[in-house]
């Protein structure tokens, strides 16, 4: 059966994820309201502006429905999505309300401004070697809580991690042609069903 994956459709790189899901034979669906979650088996929170997405999550009443959904469905957060999935934000203040889906503390714009944004090949535990990773005003993970597995680091900063069915990356796999990370995430859906 075709896997149906929701991409939080409020703001950001939504179609990029949907296109990559399609390449892998899955169906990507933009999820714009909490009721749309009923149609999907997993959720991707895409890159975008974390403050903007956080505000839109609260305005449309998405906050608790996503937390409920994450209890028994896989969730993947990239960049802004990582920030939103996290448990605490070093410099977030009152600007955004993280969903607390995974126990990580996050520093936003941790690598600097846009002129410092970069791409680099990255070796990722459990997934593969030399995976192209695009960092755009990217966050990093300061530290992880118990049970959270660190998958990749750059300059000794954590940039990818997972805990059970929640996967987070500081960078944007959806901006490259390499779909190994997405394939890895899709496997979590199978694990859930078996």
């Amino acid at each position: 059966m075709v896997k149906r994956v929701g991409v939080l459709g409020l703001q950001g790189a939504i179609t990029e994820h949907i296109n990559q899901l399609k390449q892998l034979g899955a169906e990507g669906i933009a999820v714009k309201t909490p009721t749309d979650l009923a149609q999907v088996q997993a959720l991707i929170i895409p890159g975008g502006e974390s403050t903007a997405i956080s505000r839109l999550i609260q305005q449309i009443g998405f906050y608790e429905p996503i937390q409920q959904f994450a209890k028994n469905h896989p969730v993947f957060g990239t960049c802004a999505g990582l920030i939103l999935c996290g448990s605490s934000i070093t410099d977030g203040g009152e600007k955004l309300k993280p969903l607390k889906l995974i126990d990580i503390a996050v520093t936003r714009n941790g690598f600097g401004r846009q002129v410092d944004s970069f791409e680099t090949p990255l070796d990722i535990d459990s997934i593969g070697q030399q995976i192209p990773a695009v960092f755009i005003r990217a966050p990093y993970i300061d530290h992880v809580g118990e049970g959270v597995k660190i998958l990749a680091k750059i300059d000794n900063r954590i940039v990818m991690a997972e805990h059970g069915s929640v996967l987070v990356s500081s960078f944007h796999p959806e901006l490259t042609e390499d779909n190994r990370i997405m394939a890895y995430f899709l496997k979590k859906i199978k694990e859930e069903n078996s």
Partner: protein, 295 residues
């Protein structure tokens, strides 16, 4: 570790992260904070919003760096700033300051009436205006990482923004319907680089993100531009020249996201107060039409 900064992927990717969002013109830290709190995906730091530039007349230049720096310190969302068309030094100054995006903008008085900036030379990404596909692809050819249809800035009148978005998307549809052996003549006719016309046909869309700009004044205007295929919207004078900037800013952000939820648009459009006063385009003299700047 081999880190590559300023690559095409990194520069275009920045614009991809802005999609579905609203970029707001601001002239000080207080406005920038209002924009951020309302859910703007970026702010454009300026000395004056376009309608005030119109009113002031004279030469409009890059903002005082103090204003841009103040805005950069006030918010954590990306900060954009405008350089004059062809003004290499203003662009380098803004890049050196670390702004996140430069708008080579027809809202300012052009510095060069023949050449635009060679944007591929820069680490910082650029956004440029366009009125049709040829103009857009010329800007991409020079290295623009993001486009915006021009509209007519500072008028609060959506008609030109609609004209330009329909024109660009209509021409993309034309490209899609052409045989490969017809593309060179089409590229010649619209004054676009041939390779980029071929890329548009292959992708079925522009190779970079395209926002709407120049005339958005209400939540319904923003929703209209999204319905016409914009990837997001720039709002210049529309927010801080309205009666209630906080309300307008929040409503325009939500309308941009939920542009097909008409019930929600009803609520978002209620009780906002007076939008900015608009200008009928036919009352603008030729030299007051900012959209004619750029070549």
């Amino acid at each position: 570790m081999n880190k590559q900064v300023g690559s095409e992927t990194v520069k275009r990717g920045m614009a991809q992260m802005q999609k579905g969002g609203v970029i707001m013109d601001v002239v000080n830290a207080e406005q920038a904070k209002i924009a951020e709190a309302a859910g703007a995906v970026a702010v454009m730091a300026l000395e004056r919003v376009p309608s005030d530039i119109r009113a002031a007349g004279g030469v409009a230049r890059m903002a005082d760096p103090t204003i841009v720096e103040t805005v950069m310190k006030a918010v954590t969302i990306p900060v954009m700033a405008k350089a004059r068309i062809g003004h290499i030094s203003e662009a380098r100054i803004l890049e050196d300051m670390g702004v996140d995006y430069i708008d080579e903008s027809e809202v300012l008085t052009p510095a060069d009436e023949e050449f635009h900036i060679l944007k591929s030379d820069y680490t910082v990404p650029f956004v440029c205006g366009c009125r049709d596909l040829g103009e857009g692809l010329r800007r991409i050819g020079e290295g623009a990482s993001m486009l915006r249809t021009k509209g007519e800035p500072g008028t609060g009148n959506i008609v030109e923004a609609v004209r330009h978005m329909r024109k660009v998307n209509g021409q993309i549809h034309l490209v899609m319907g052409k045989n490969d052996d017809e593309l060179m003549a089409f590229a010649r006719d619209i004054g676009a680089p041939y390779e980029l016309v071929k890329e548009v046909k292959k992708l079925g869309r522009l190779p970079v993100v395209n926002f709407a700009a120049g005339g958005v004044a209400t939540p319904a205007d923003a929703a209209l531009m999204m319905s016409l295929g914009a990837d997001g919207v720039f709002v210049g004078s529309g927010i801080f020249k309205s009666e209630n900037p906080e309300k307008f800013a929040r409503a325009i952000v939500q309308a941009t996201t939920h542009y097909e939820d008409y019930g929600m648009l009803v609520e978002l459009s209620k009780g906002l107060g007076t939008p900015m006063k608009g200008i009928e385009i036919s009352n603008l003299s030729q030299q007051d039409r900012m959209q004619e700047r750029g070549w």
